[in-house]
Subunit: 139 residues, 4 copies
Amino acid sequence: MALPYTYERRVRYRECDPMGVVYHTVYLDYFEEARTEALRHMGVRYRDLEADGIIMPVVHVEMDYHASAHYDDLLAIDVQFAQPPSVRVPIEYAVRHVGADDVLTTGHTTLCFMDAEQRRPTRPPPAVRQAFAAGLDPS
Amino acid sequence: MALPYTYERRVRYRECDPMGVVYHTVYLDYFEEARTEALRHMGVRYRDLEADGIIMPVVHVEMDYHASAHYDDLLAIDVQFAQPPSVRVPIEYAVRHVGADDVLTTGHTTLCFMDAEQRRPTRPPPAVRQAFAAGLDPS
Amino acid sequence: MALPYTYERRVRYRECDPMGVVYHTVYLDYFEEARTEALRHMGVRYRDLEADGIIMPVVHVEMDYHASAHYDDLLAIDVQFAQPPSVRVPIEYAVRHVGADDVLTTGHTTLCFMDAEQRRPTRPPPAVRQAFAAGLDPS
Amino acid sequence: MALPYTYERRVRYRECDPMGVVYHTVYLDYFEEARTEALRHMGVRYRDLEADGIIMPVVHVEMDYHASAHYDDLLAIDVQFAQPPSVRVPIEYAVRHVGADDVLTTGHTTLCFMDAEQRRPTRPPPAVRQAFAAGLDPS
């Protein structure tokens, strides 16, 4: 199985607060970038989905903060799609320093496939289901 | 009991995404503002805590998104301190349109009192405990 | 003349950087909020303009930083529309602490009235011209 | 001469507004990332400067917006240090799509070397002057 996908990200100055550490909301931005690149790696471009009338709003978020990251640190964000996507797409994240095992932050987001025009939940398009099937294939 | 405290907030342009709605991470910013003002209302200024060597990092976050908010909407964020603070401070949030009952987003954050220098959990200072005792008093 | 309009804004934690001061990009956010409220005060709601097919992108920005603002400071942002709007709308800003005269940051933004569909510059609608005429009237 | 340095950056969803384009303030974030990486390329790590008691606040900003960038676009930000750094460090930026010549946004920021403790302007440390001398060397 190709996943988890790992996305590397440098911490920027504006992302750190007066305590000198990455502000807690910023990890959600890292998660967005990480899942976008994980999807691209599987052959799914989110911008193409939108062009086809599909949006994927976030419907649930959870995060736990264990240790801090600091300015200019190079982070690794592991992304794991927990299961083949149905209407809902649960995704797990873990943030570490590149080259280290200690997990700084863990997170979970649930996205939802929606018809952009009707704003109603919908099934993922066939191309997405195939991409996930290939990406999640244990062989 | 004075709480829940309600904080009103206008949605800004930069907070909305290409779907035309408030981006999901932005609610965490609203929660920060709302709890800061709720604490101020109870007589606790976070900046004074920091000056006294106490910081309150966020250690856990949960959010559920039920309906969207749009540019220039005027939102009401209800803040509820679930219990008298010990080392941990759990806080509940609900976001509505001002004057409406439908809840758009609910959230939960757990903050932690920490000694800023030693970066270790600590008990809340007496002034904070007294402020909460008064604010949470059912009489 | 009713203007300059003054908008008050509390500095938030996420807006401060590891130097402990408001990060330089954040003043642009304050300017956006200040001009939106100045326009509302003159009777022009930007969301109504968009509903009428008019957008107002920013085409030029300048900022000078003289002194720092800190977490939880209460700031006053003065907004001055330099002239009646034609296709371009130049706006001046000055940021002070509430109740103080020292200017921390000055700024200038030029916005442009555009037809949203054709993405071409356009003249401001009559209602906007009238609102500005009233707001800028020296009598 | 090694410079201009070019930094590549993918546009993220949260950086786009309801017009569907990159929000005007976000280019300042791109500039920060681009100059940080340009400095790293020249052998100067900003985090090391801070550890040595030197900070580099931004004292002046200018930006001109010519054309829009959209979600998921891959941008090239060219960074040019205009001259060897004295107390002030003027930097020029131009944003294009990767592989294209049309300039979307141009910008200028002036940074200032400051003694972090005394909050007073100071001369750049010798290591920085040497790195710039090598980086700006026309030979």
